[in-house]
C-alpha cells in the first residue's frame, strides 16, 4: 500500500538477503502494544488513530476479545521463551485502554505473568487519557502491578484546546482529578509518567511547569505527527526556521539548569545519552533497532502504529496472531527498515554529522508520498538545532568540570 503516489519499496527481499549476507540479524521484539480497546471517549483533534490518513479503526472490533487476548499471550510468551528475553514490556493501549475494564486488564496481567519465563522481567503499563481513573480501578491496577501513564498537554487552556470530549467539553478538569488520585498515597508507585504533544501556541516553560505540578517521575514531549506530505502545524519547508527546536530548547534550558533533576525528561535524556556515546532506548531518536510490535484488537500484528499518520494501511503487515508468530514480523520490510540502522536512512542523513544522535528522526516523520520513508525527517532543521543546543550546553559543563581538575 502507499499514499497517493506509488512509493518505492525498501528494503526489497533482495535488499534483506544482502543485509543478512553482510551479517545483519534482526533484534527480537521486546515491547508489545496491546490495543485492548479500539475506541476512545475523547476526540483529540490531532489523534493519529482517528483523525489522520489511516482509517483502519473502522474495521476493528470495539474491544479485544478473550480469545484474541489468549492468542496474544501465547505468541508473546512463545517469543520470550524462544529468545530468552531478559525483559518484556507490555503496554495496554487503544483508543482508550481503560474502556476495556478492570477485569479484562486484570486477566491480561495474570495470563502474561503466568505465561512468560520466570527469568523475564515483565513490566505492564496502561497508557491512558486519564479521565476514567478511579479508586476501584487503581486498586485493581495496583493489585496487578500495572503502571499508569497519562497524556496531558500542559496547562488547562493548552490541554483543552486539543483534548476534548466529543461534545466539545475540555477534559483537563477530569484528568487533573485523576492525576491527584494517582499521586495519592498507595497509588503513587503506579504513576509511570506524562506524555505531552507540543503545541507551538503554548508557552513552553508554562507548559513544562504545569506538567511538573503533577510531580511525574518522568515525562516526554512529542513532536506532532506529520510528514512532508501532511506537514505538522507551523513546520514549513523553510529550513532556516526551527520553531519546534526553539520551543524545546526553552524547556531544555529550564530542565537542565535545575540543581537537582526535577523529573526525567525522556527525549532530552536520550539525546544526552547519545551525545555521550550511548544507544537510544526511544524509537524517535538514535539508531537503535525498533523492538516494538503492535497487536490490534482483532489480532492483527502491526508495526508501530504512529505510521498511521502517513497513509491508510501504513502500519499493516498482513500478519495475524492466528497464523503467524512474532518472529514472522522480523522479516517484514518495514520492521527490517527500522532495525537495520544507518543504511535505511536517506543519503543526506547518512552524510550528516549528527546522524548517530538524530538517527534520521522519528520514522513516521520521514514520509513523503511518492518516495516513501527514505527521506530526512520533516523536522530535520529542528532536530539539528536541538541536538546542537544540547551538545553545546552539556559539552560546556563537562569542559568546565575537566578544567577544574588541572
Amino acid at each position: 500500500m502507499s499514499g497517493t503516489l506509488i512509493d518505492p519499496v525498501w528494503p526489497t527481499s533482495d535488499d534483506i538477503a544482502a543485509l543478512q549476507a553482510g551479517g545483519w540479524r534482526p533484534t527480537p521484539i521486546r515491547q508489545f502494544v496491546l490495543k485492548v480497546h479500539s475506541r476512545c471517549n475523547l476526540a483529540c483533534d490531532y489523534c493519529y488513530v482517528y483523525r489522520m490518513a489511516d482509517q483502519t479503526w473502522r474495521e476493528r472490533p470495539l474491544a479485544m476479545s478473550r480469545d484474541i487476548l489468549a492468542l496474544a499471550v501465547t505468541r508473546i510468551a512463545e517469543h520470550a521463551w524462544r529468545h530468552d528475553l531478559p525483559r518484556v514490556g507490555v503496554v495496554f493501549h487503544g483508543g482508550e485502554p481503560l474502556l476495556a475494564g478492570p477485569a479484562f486488564l486484570a486477566d491480561a496481567a495474570r495470563a502474561l505473568r503466568r505465561s512468560l519465563p520466570p527469568t523475564t522481567t515483565t513490566t505492564l503499563t496502561v497508557q491512558s487519557n486519564g479521565v476514567l481513573l478511579s479508586v476501584p480501578l487503581l486498586d485493581v491496577l495496583g493489585e496487578h502491578d500495572i503502571s499508569v501513564a497519562v497524556s496531558v498537554d500542559g496547562t488547562a487552556a493548552g490541554h483543552d484546546r486539543h483534548r476534548r470530549y466529543p461534545n466539545g467539553r475540555g477534559s483537563y478538569a477530569d484528568i487533573a482529578r485523576g492525576l491527584d488520585l494517582l499521586n495519592s498515597g498507595p497509588y503513587r508507585r503506579l504513576f509511570s509518567g506524562l506524555l505531552c504533544t507540543v503545541d507551538l501556541t503554548q508557552d513552553p516553560v508554562d507548559c513544562y511547569r504545569a506538567l511538573l505540578g503533577f510531580a511525574p517521575p518522568r515525562m516526554d514531549f512529542l513532536l506532532p505527527l506529520g510528514n512532508w506530505t501532511t506537514p505538522p502545524p507551523g513546520r514549513t519547508a523553510d529550513p532556516a526556521t526551527t520553531p519546534y527546536a526553539d520551543w524545546l530548547t526553552a524547556v531544555f534550558d529550564r530542565w537542565y539548569s535545575a540543581p537537582v533533576q526535577e523529573t526525567e525528561l525522556r527525549l532530552f535524556r536520550e539525546i544526552i545519552h547519545l551525545l555521550l556515546g550511548g544507544s537510544s532506548q526511544l524509537e524517535s531518536i538514535g539508531l537503535a533497532p525498533s523492538t516494538v510490535a503492535v497487536i490490534e484488537a482483532d489480532g492483527s500484528l502491526e508495526e508501530t502504529d504512529t505510521l498511521k499518520s502517513a497513509y491508510h494501511g501504513a502500519a499493516t503487515t498482513g500478519l495475524h496472531l492466528a497464523e503467524h508468530s512474532i518472529d514472522d514480523m522480523l522479516g517484514h520490510p518495514s520492521v527490517v527498515a527500522r532495525q537495520v540502522g544507518l543504511v535505511a536512512l536517506a543519503e543526506k542523513c547518512q552524510l550528516c554529522p549528527v546522524r548517530t544522535v538524530c538517527g534520521g528522526g522519528y520514522y513516521p516523520h520521514r514520509y513523503r508520498s511518492g518516495s516513501g520513508f527514505r527521506n530526512p525527517s520533516v523536522y530535520c532543521p529542528d532536530l539539528l538545532a536541538l541536538i546542537g543546543h544540547v551538545r553545546a550546553r552539556v559539552s560546556r559543563d563537562i569542559g568546565l568540570l575537566a578544567r577544574a581538575t588541572r
Binding site: 525483559r87 503499563t125 524517535s284 559543563d397 563537562i398
Partner: protein
C-alpha cells in the same frame, strides 16, 4: 575511518573528567547522565528502542 572520526568529534568526550568530582554535581541532570553512560558501557540491553506513544 574519517567518517568515524567525524562522528566521534560530534560526540562529547568524558575522558578528561575526574570522576571523584561527580558528587559535586549532586543529583543534577548532568550527574545522572554521566552515571548512566558509565553504567551502560557494553550493555547489550541498551541497544533497543521503545514505543514513543507510551512512557
Amino acid at each position: 575511518m574519517d567518517e568515524d572520526r567525524e562522528i566521534e568529534s560530534n560526540l562529547i568526550d568524558l575522558s578528561d573528567i575526574d570522576l571523584e568530582l561527580l558528587p559535586l554535581l549532586q543529583d543534577s541532570v548532568l550527574a545522572r547522565s554521566i552515571r548512566r553512560i558509565l553504567q551502560s558501557a557494553g550493555s547489550l540491553d541498551d541497544a533497543a528502542s521503545t514505543f514513543q506513544q507510551s512512557i
